[in-house]
């Protein structure tokens, strides 16, 4: 198994990149350009727009919390994958090890749930 099997993934990536860049470029050329101040305003259903400052305004901290929780559980999943692939070889020992690991994460999960980290209101 050499790295040459990865080359087609990069090739398709390059093809897709070329296609999307070409299509955003072509619309700059073929599309019309008619200046109108109102067209360039942020869309807010017709009322006078109150645009966000560039770089994003303030937003609920819940989104940030969700991202933190995602990192915790995604790392858990990353640990689970190699274990799952070699599961048949590891046998009872590997299973008990994983039981302990998932148990530890479950404690954290129960804590987050109890503290209301998973509630969205």
């Amino acid at each position: 198994m050499s790295l040459s099997a990865y080359v087609p993934i990069l090739a398709l990536f390059a093809l897709a990149t070329a296609f999307t860049l070409f299509s955003v470029g072509i619309s700059q050329i073929v599309g019309p350009k008619r200046y109108n101040r109102a067209k360039l305003e942020a869309y807010e259903c017709g009322i006078e727009p109150s645009p966000e400052p560039v770089g994003g305004g303030r937003f609920p901290v819940k989104f940030y919390l969700t991202a933190m929780l995602f990192i915790i559980f995604d790392i858990e999943i990353i640990f689970l994958y190699p274990w799952a692939v070699t599961f048949a070889d590891l046998g009872l020992f590997g299973f008990v090890e994983m039981l302990l690991f998932i148990g530890t994460v479950f404690i954290a999960y129960a804590y987050v749930w109890r503290r209301g980290g998973l509630d969205w209101d």
């Binding site: 090739a11 897709a16 299509s23 560039v54 995602f70 994958y81 799952a84 998973l118």
Partner: protein, 466 residues
């Protein structure tokens, strides 16, 4: 019923000559593009038929060219760049989800070994030991395009849509990532062709019905049904499809992260959504529905169904069936509220997933280790005691204190916003000069005499109004 000689293994990949790689990626790219054109047509047509409308039928045969016409029209529209937008990010953000959605097509297995211009090669662009991870990584990278596009628009609706979308996709990525752990455990590999090979041919059951030994199905959709269901649900969340299309809930957020986009950039977001749907359908077909292998009744009487180019047909049939389910669900279910949606992902799918993995692991270990009867009962008993302990120690939900509406209203601090009385009868407005006439039943007869009476009633009403 195994054709292991034709099953590509990992060793078969990475030896293609350069022209074959080029041919394969171009075909995969064209497959993705044509699936968008057909997919949009298919969705609009099926939804229309479910709503008892004719659907697309004007442009081309059965309206098939409508998507192409829409695309050309989109390119010829003006490409707006809002004054408040972050120019560079706004320009490039729509390309990101499209690029990564198309890249994910590279590890989808379309068929077994075939001969292309005299070269024996698998009908798959490539396969790597971490192929499923490549798909997951591509769907995760697509989130960047959405959140950056929403952020760079410099407007409130896109920002909220982009944030919602990213929170939703990462939440359902957790559920999705966990649900395929069971597949890896059973297949013992992460390569897509290996997972297809692991689902080959069911074994005959040891039990029988009236002397007939039924074939135990080998599809993981049946063997690992909890994983299958969780994966399908999270695939809907991951692709922002109804009933989880909250980022673009038009009643709340106009068009979500796409609000400020026009022309080809808008189309690129649309394109990436449909390619992601096709990729998800292909991955579901690969990991749970036996991939390119023919379904059971066909293999029973046609031994050649899994060789040559035929598997392409079975694979496409499975993908189209899954796309139909995507559309069917959209036509049937109402959109969820955001808190309900996040609750489903974090509080239902995640723990169910973890428990299912442990259950499956425990069963497999007990099967392999050949425990004696006493030890087996000890382990099962221990697990039951552990579950009971957790259930007993789990904090009980506090009962909501019951208060009447009057108590709630009187408990409001002074200076609160005034509320109308509960038994409020809305009087007719003094400014309303119009008194609505009593509606008389129209006495329509076959001779047409009724029309005169209706006209009379109209004049009556006019008089009262004056």
């Amino acid at each position: 019923m195994r054709f292991l000689t034709q099953d590509p293994t990992l060793a078969d990949f990475g030896h293609d000559p350069w022209w074959l790689i080029l041919l394969k990626i171009v075909v995969a790219f064209i497959f993705g593009m044509s699936m968008i054109l057909l997919g949009v047509w298919f969705e609009r047509r099926v939804v229309a038929r479910m709503a008892v409308r004719p659907g697309l039928n004007q442009v081309g045969p059965f309206g098939l060219l409508q998507t192409l016409a829409d695309g050309i029209k989109g390119i010829l529209k003006e490409d707006l760049l809002p004054r408040t937008a972050d120019k560079v990010v706004f320009f490039f953000a729509p390309t990101v989800p499209a690029i990564f959605a198309l890249t994910a097509l590279s590890v989808i297995p379309f068929g077994p070994m075939v001969s292309i211009f005299g070269v024996q090669t698998p009908l798959q662009v490539t396969d790597v030991p971490v192929a499923v991870l490549v798909v997951l990584a591509c769907s995760a990278m697509g989130i960047y395009g959405i959140v950056l596009g929403g952020w760079a628009s410099g407007s409130t609706y896109p920002l909220l849509g982009g944030l919602r979308s990213s929170a939703q996709m990462i939440s359902y990525e957790v559920a999705m990532g966990l649900s395929i752990v069971a597949v890896f455990m059973t297949a013992g590999t992460m390569s897509t062709s290996g997972i297809v090979a692991a689902q080959a041919g069911g074994s005959e059951a040891s039990w029988s019905i009236f002397g007939w030994h039924p074939t135990v199905p080998s599809w993981y959709a049946i063997l690992l049904i909890p994983s299958f269901l969780i994966f399908v649900v999270s695939a809907f969340g991951e692709t922002n499809r109804a009933p989880f299309d909250l980022p673009e809930a038009e009643t709340e957020l106009v068009a979500g992260y796409m609000t400020e986009y026009s022309s080809i950039k808008f189309l690129l977001y649309l394109l990436s959504e449909y390619v992601a749907m096709v990729v998800m359908s292909s991955i579901i077909a690969t990991m749970f529905l036996g991939g390119w292998r023919a379904p059971w009744p066909i293999t029973a009487f046609w031994s050649g169904a899994n060789s040559g180019w035929w598997p392409l047909l079975w694979f496409l049939a499975k993908v189209v069936l899954l796309l139909f389910i995507f559309v069917w669900v959209r036509a049937t279910l109402p959109r969820l509220r955001y808190d309900q949606f996040m609750k489903l992902g974090w509080k239902v799918l995640l723990p169910v997933n973890l428990i299912w993995i442990l259950l499956l692991g425990g069963l497999r270990v007990m099967q392999d280790e050949q425990f004696s009867g006493r030890n087996r009962w000890l382990i099962i008993g221990g697990a039951v005691v552990a579950v009971l302990l957790v259930a007993l120690l789990w904090p009980a939900r506090k009962a909501e204190p019951k208060t009447t509406l009057e108590e709630q209203m009187s408990a409001r601090p002074s200076g609160s916003f005034p509320l109308p009385p509960l038994d409020l009868q809305v009087p007719p407005s003094p400014r309303a000069k119009r008194v609505v006439a009593e509606r008389r039943p129209a006495n329509v007869t076959a001779s047409g005499a009724g029309s005169g009476q209706v006209a009379d009633a109209d004049t009556d009403a006019d008089e009262k109004e004056v």
